[in-house]
Amino acid sequence: MSEETKLQTDNLDLYYNKFKALNHISVHIPANRITAVIGPSGCGKSTFLRAFNRMNELIPDVRVEGQVLLDGQDVFALDEVELRRRVGMVFQRPNPFPKSIYDNVAYGPRAHGIHNHQMLDAIVERSLRSAAIWDEVKDELGKSALRLSGGQQQRLCIARALAVEPEVILMDEPASALDPSATLRIEELMQQLKAEYTILIVTHNMQQAARASDYTAFFMMDDNRAGTLVEFGPTRQIFTNPRDHRTEDYISGRFG
């Protein structure tokens, strides 16, 4: 792997109270690529994803051991507010705020201290364009975001994440609540975005991982029900020539 590393974990262990949810995860996520995280339910994919923007900390009694690095910097040494600006996130269920489309996108920049109207206008337009939703909503920016369709809401959430100019976008099954055509649009969008962002996406959908990602990480539960990383590599290799028999079993549908 000669790619530049954007995100990295070294021997990452994560506990909910006494329960170990992640077991010794070490991985390098390359910059400006789409990396898919796949595996059966409950194997810690989302927990792994949330380690990079420290969202796990919002749950009481979570303990993390090992290292999580962003550009080689320990994320626990960064301020979490600054970290989350640099590492954006799109959630499983579209979760626009009950505000207007404009205010949804402007929310992040405003939180970071931008109040100049022209500046906000420019950010909103640029973000909505980047998220491929500008043409659909440009005439009704004052409309409540909750009146958009599910697929539009999810693209709005992507725009909202882009508005604070992150370097990484974490996507937690962003298309699982969407219909096939909306899913396809999100995948196309990801391809456009990877030129500027590093994308890490959790997905249940094998085809989606195979179609849309450059690299794939396969997670499973070990004997103690803790999530472990079985295999990481270029997507093509994982899907055509996996090194680990468990990966092969999972991908060929023998369990999971």
Partner: protein, 326 residues
């Protein structure tokens, strides 16, 4: 965009240069803003000050409670002796004597009021939840009447207690010539707590899962057998909570009884006698005889009773929670 960001990195140190790339002015400066960590400190400071204020509010609330309860119980404890509790009040400007009759009057009034309002309230709530729901679909007039009934109960639950007192005075004290008496006070008090019982019981009944009802009916039980055997027992902790709540309400209520029970400190000999509850006694001692020490003693007993009632309610709520989960 990456290149633009790159430029920003370079122009940052040499201020003023930013203006030159006018086409992406907004972008450049916003990028600068977003990468600038200097406002992070002020945002955190705002958060800290705001949180400090919230903590202050919470502390004030607890402190006020401790101050009021502490003050009343501390001063009250000085007069609370076996004599104070067992001796009858003797009136007079110093509020001589104890509170034995007052305690008894309070007990009578609580038992009578809750005894009248509970069966009526629980029955009404049972009808509204278990029977009225089924009517809805095919009889429009009837369902509209039920809607009005609900609205009436909701409205009364929010009406000031003095209104109930006024009603009790007009109907029972004057129109029906019951005078200032336990009877007038009981009936007015029952009206006061009726909406409380109906509403709380309705909630408890609604919390019973429908599968319980279906289970009973599927076994061939009649509707009433199902309600009596399954639904009401399941809702019992909630119904008991509503009764305990009403006991607290009657104990603490003053306005209604001030205008229906009169203020005699003597022992009520019949249902037509006037009398004083603990709360009324506190009011009279404080405002008319200025016997503040005795007022504090009576108030302290009242407060301790309320604390006890709150404990019981919390215990019931915990049990209810456990039942709904398990």
């Amino acid at each position: 965009m990456t290149t633009v960001i790159h430029t920003v990195g370079q122009t940052r140190n040499t201020s003023g240069q930013v203006k030159s790339c006018s086409t992406s002015l907004a972008h450049v400066t916003s990028s600068q803003y977003l990468r600038d960590k200097s406002n992070l400190k002020s945002r955190k400071l705002t958060q800290q000050s705001a949180f400090a204020l919230m903590w202050l509010a919470g502390s004030v609330a607890v402190a006020v409670l401790v101050a009021i309860v502490g003050y009343v119980v501390w001063l009250g404890a000085k007069v609370i002796t076996p004599d104070f509790i067992l001796q009858p009040p003797r009136g007079g400007m110093a509020g001589d004597g104890g509170i034995s009759y007052t305690l008894l009057t309070t007990f009578y009034l609580v038992v009578l009021t809750v005894g009248i309002a509970t069966p009526l309230g629980v029955a009404a709530a049972t009808y509204l939840v278990e029977y009225a729901g089924a009517i809805r679909k095919h009889r429009r007039l009837w369902s509209r009447l039920i809607g009005i009934a609900r609205l009436g109960v909701e409205t009364l639950a929010g009406v000031p207690s003095i209104i109930f007192g006024l009603f009790g005075y007009a109907l029972f004290v004057s129109a029906l010539h019951f005078g200032f008496s336990l009877l007038s006070a009981t009936l007015a008090g029952a009206c006061l707590i009726l909406p409380v019982i109906i509403r709380t019981t309705e909630e408890a009944l609604r919390a019973v899962p429908n599968s319980y009802r279906e289970g009973g009916l599927a076994l061939g039980a009649t509707k009433w057998q199902t309600i009596w055997g399954i639904v009401l027992p399941t809702a019992a902790p909630g119904i008991i909570t509503s009764i305990v709540l009403s006991v607290g309400r009657v104990l603490g209520e003053t306005a209604v009884f001030y205008v229906t029970l009169g203020g005699s400190y003597r022992m009520p000999t019949s249902i037509m006698s006037s009398g004083r509850t603990l709360a009324l006694h506190v009011f009279y001692l404080a405002t008319e005889t200025h016997a503040f020490d005795k007022a504090m003693g009576t108030a302290a007993i009242l407060v301790l009773a309320i604390i006890l009632i709150n404990l019981v309610i919390n215990l019931l709520a915990r049990r209810l929670n456990r039942m709904m989960k398990g």
